[in-house]
């Protein structure tokens, strides 16, 4: 009976070793040797290959959905260990190979030093054995998440991931602790750019414990909150939001200058994400040229407000210019939206991609230079008074517009408009036959999406004070799209989390910025396979796609039914 499971464990294990090999050979492992993950024990670089092995172990121990069977607890652990050992063996094989054969003429990073690091400086024999053994242990650990009761499994996994992130975010958390006058605590928790063992135990305990309590007691808490009389609930809501806003308002002072800068960038991407989410997530129009709106917002602001702008001499203040910028934005949205009304899916994506590129080239061109400054760009864009061009100050207008945009997007999502968009995304002709004026709603999505993007562009221009056409490359579109996919398409908290992870994390992990796109690719592929609904999906979406820790017997039986074509309901 082990046949199909065994085969899958073998393939998963071998495949699980490959990301590690790949990331080693592109140099990420070496580059991240400078940062400790667990201080004195393991660096981020060394840990990376093994993280994939944990995932492989977890994956190998899962149920076979086609056959509708599930390995027993012992089988699961065995399968995980096998997959992990194989993953470790793949790493070991690579290490042995690059020690024996010099392939540096093609793979510059394939140095003997890399092999030594990955073999824990124990030499090829002991090192390889260690790699396989550690792989097996980690694979079994990954598999054990399947064996534990769902609530425990979730707590263990969430604890691990969050602690990892807290460790990686040392620059941020460390700065916060220092600015709060908790230097002693920081010394205990962090060392060498990562959490100490004590730090790991403390953070892990808190997070895993908290997650466990929430998953076992959370329903009761929620039920009690629901049982509160409406006015009390309202008060509780106001208190929670008030606290949140207070923290957000104090944040720049707490984190200091450099991290405020990062927060500002994250904020701009949240705005972009919220806007693109309307177009792609709500209305299902795949727009790959979203950067065009960002550029229009930035240029319109620059032209209207900068004394150095070539075309428009009266210098408006940021706040007077903004309404004009928004109107221009909406018009540009309609202008781009109108010709692509009849296009669907891939065709729309290609055309909008073209629009994005055209926008940048036009702004840069000699022809537009009398207005846009051509390749020179536009200089000395004033800050939005009373705020100054200082990360800790400009943070506030960005925060303000983020909150505004989040509220607007939430209101739309739950309304007649949001439903019409979703219906259009699901089936355009049926939406039309049901009475949705799809032409109008498409244009509305483009115009509103454009408005959000333009506001982000306006803030960007006033934040950095100088704009060049080359700041508006396709990468901006891709980043915005990647963050909404990562966070959970169509979901507003998801956009915020996506921006934090995709824009924030690289800033805290400077060593890795060189590999940013590589990691984007990997993260997106892995996400699509393991968690297609995104990190923070809406509730119904989770019900649809989730199988991770919730697959207790009953739900599992239903999923198996779905595979065999029997009609099935997920309650």
């Amino acid at each position: 009976m082990g046949g199909p499971f065994l085969r899958r464990a073998i393939t998963t294990g071998l495949l699980g070793g490959i990301p590690g090999v790949h990331l080693s050979l592109v140099g990420m492992v070496t580059a991240l040797q400078t940062r400790e993950l667990i201080s004195g024990v393991v660096t981020i670089g060394t840990a990376i290959p093994f993280i994939f092995i944990i995932i492989a172990g977890w994956y190998a121990a899962g149920p076979d959905r086609a056959l509708g069977i599930k390995p027993s607890a012992i089988q699961a652990l065995g399968l995980g260990a096998l997959a992990g050992a194989l993953g470790g063996a793949v790493l070991a094989a690579m290490c042995l190979f690059i020690t024996a054969v010099d392939v540096r003429w093609i793979l510059v990073n394939a140095t003997p030093a890399l092999a030594e690091t990955l073999q824990f400086d124990q030499g090829p024999v002991v090192g390889s054995v260690l790699q396989v053994a550690i792989g097996a242990a980690l694979g079994a650990a990954g598999a054990s998440l399947r064996v534990m009761p769902a609530s425990v499994g979730r707590a263990v996994a969430v604890g691990g991931v969050v602690t990892l992130i807290v460790s990686v975010m040392e620059p941020f958390v460390g700065a916060v602790l220092r600015n709060l006058g908790l230097k002693d605590l920081q010394d205990v928790l962090y060392e060498g750019g990562g959490l100490t063992i004590v730090g790991w135990i403390v953070v892990y305990g808190l997070v895993a414990g908290g997650t466990y309590l929430w998953s076992t007691r959370g329903d009761r808490v929620r039920a009690r909150a629901d049982a509160l009389p409406p006015d009390r609930r309202r008060v509780a809501k106001i208190v929670v939001y008030g606290l949140l806003i207070a923290v957000l308002l104090l944040l720049p002072q707490i984190v200091g200058q450099r991290l405020s800068e990062v927060l500002g960038t994250i904020g701009l991407y949240i705005l972009l994400g919220l806007g693109l989410n309307i177009v792609v997530g709500f209305a299902g129009l795949l727009d790959l040229g979203y950067v065009a709106f960002f550029a229009v917002g930035a240029y319109a602001t620059a032209i209207l407000t900068s004394p150095a702008s070539p075309a428009f001499s009266p210098e408006l203040s940021f706040w007077t210019a903004l309404p004009i910028v928004i109107i221009v934005a909406a018009l540009v949205g309609l202008f781009i939206g109108a010709p692509v009304l009849r296009l669907r899916g891939d065709y729309l994506a290609i055309v909008t991609l073209g629009f994005g590129e055209i926008a940048r080239e036009v702004f840069k061109s000699q022809w537009a230079a009398p207005v846009t400054g051509g390749a020179q760009g536009i200089l000395s864009i004033p800050p939005p008074t009373p705020f100054e061009r200082d990360p800790q100050s400009i943070y506030y207008p960005i925060l303000f517009f983020c909150i505004l945009a989040a509220i607007a997007a939430t209101s739309l999502a739950a309304s007649r408009v949001g439903r019409a968009w979703n219906a259009m995304r699901e089936d355009e002709s049926v939406a039309e036959a049901t009475g949705v004026n799809t032409t109008f709603y498409k244009l509305l999505a483009f115009a509103l999406g454009a408005t959000f993007g333009c506001v982000a562009g306006a803030l960007f221009a006033t934040k950095i004070g100088v704009i060049y056409a080359d700041s508006f490359s396709i990468l901006v579109s891709i980043n915005a799209l990647a963050l909404i996919i990562l966070g959970g398409m169509g979901n507003i908290p998801g956009v915020i989390v996506g921006a934090l992870v995709l824009v924030g994390l690289p800033e805290f992990l400077r060593e890795f910025s060189e590999y940013r796109l590589l990691v984007y690719g990997i993260v997106l592929v892995v996400m699509m396979i393991l968690r297609p609904e995104g990190l923070l999906p809406s509730r119904s979406r989770r019900a649809e796609l989730h199988e991770h820790f919730d697959d207790d017997e009953e739900m599992y039986a239903e999923e198996a039914g779905e595979e065999t074509g029997r009609p099935v309901v997920t309650a």
Binding site: A408, S411, L412, A414, S415, R416, V417, G418, R419, A420, N422, A423, R425, E426, D427, S429, V430, A431, E432, A433, T434, G435, V436, N437, T438, T439, L444, L448, R539, S540, R541, A543, E544, P567, V568, V569, T570, A571
Partner: protein, 278 residues
């Protein structure tokens, strides 16, 4: 309109004159796709409050005709008048707004939306909230939202979908319930005319009986007029007050169920088809 529905008189419909204006009148409707003629010169009348069936072998042009009634296709020639308005050249959403609701042969729900949201999309044309009012979440928008939700819940109950399904994704429902949901979505727009494209396709005999009863009940309780395409002759004969038979895109026969059953041309079209395909 209830006059028609309670009128048991069989027999050929006299051409207009003494009859009240029908809810739907198709006049020489022709649909050409290049050289292929899918519908040729179809004259067709659906009286107020009746249940009318459109039958015919596969490929006879029934669904094409439906698509013209809902504006998804525009007839190559001819005229269609619904409730006193010619619908030629109107967009599907405008026709939906006039009061034509439909279901589809191969169920087409908004799969990744909740059951209740599917029905509420159906009510789209009956809601007035503009985009900026929704953006500002004005009190009247919230009120309308609550009223619509309540009405959607009533419709779900009416078609027999259990409450616990409300927040599930439409695509996760069992097949029979998906058909019911599609019906609820069509009803949410308060249609005057309900077009059902094979409402009992793929259902077992028990479900079919339920669905037939439901259609009759809806007609009586909601003052609907129903036009349906159906292959199940038991359903057709049991439910229809009038039947129109299409074959090769042309109208072959029209009349009360008894007449159709006895019509030699109809028998030939059906048996002939079977004989050649067997």
């Amino acid at each position: 309109m209830s006059v028609m529905s309670t009128d048991p008189r069989p027999g050929p419909m006299p051409p207009s004159g003494e009859e009240p204006e029908p809810l739907l009148r198709a006049d020489k409707v022709t649909m050409r796709f290049g050289g292929l003629v899918a519908n040729r010169d179809i004259d067709f009348v659906v009286p107020q409050g009746s249940i009318v069936s459109l039958i015919g072998p596969n490929g006879a042009g029934k669904t094409t005709f439906f698509n013209q009634l809902t504006g998804m296709l525009e007839p190559s020639s001819g005229d269609i008048v619904f409730d006193g308005t010619s619908i030629i050249g109107l967009h599907p959403h405008e026709i939906a707004e006039l009061g034509v609701g439909r279901t589809f042969q191969n169920i087409r729900l908004f799969g990744a939306m909740s059951v209740i949201a599917n029905v509420m999309v159906g009510a789209h044309t009956r809601m007035g909230a503009s985009w900026w009012a929704s953006l500002l979440r004005l009190p009247r928008v919230r009120e309308e939202e609550a009223v619509t939700r309540k009405r959607a819940q009533e419709l779900l109950r009416l078609v027999g979908l259990p409450r616990r399904y409300e927040e599930d994704w439409a695509k996760n429902l069992p097949y029979g319930d998906q058909r019911r949901l599609e019906l609820a979505r069509a009803l949410a727009s308060n249609p005057k005319l309900l077009l059902l494209d094979e409402p009992t396709a793929g259902m077992n005999p028990g479900e079919t009986v339920q669905m037939t009863g439901l259609i009759k009940r809806l007609r009586d309780e909601l003052d609907l007029t129903v036009l349906l395409i159906e292959h199940d002759m038991k359903v057709v004969m049991g439910i229809s007050e009038r039947i129109t038979v299409l074959d090769y895109g042309e109208k072959l026969a029209e009349g009360a169920p008894e007449e159709i059953r006895a019509d030699p041309r109809v028998i030939e079209a059906y048996l002939g088809k079977q004989a050649t395909s067997a």
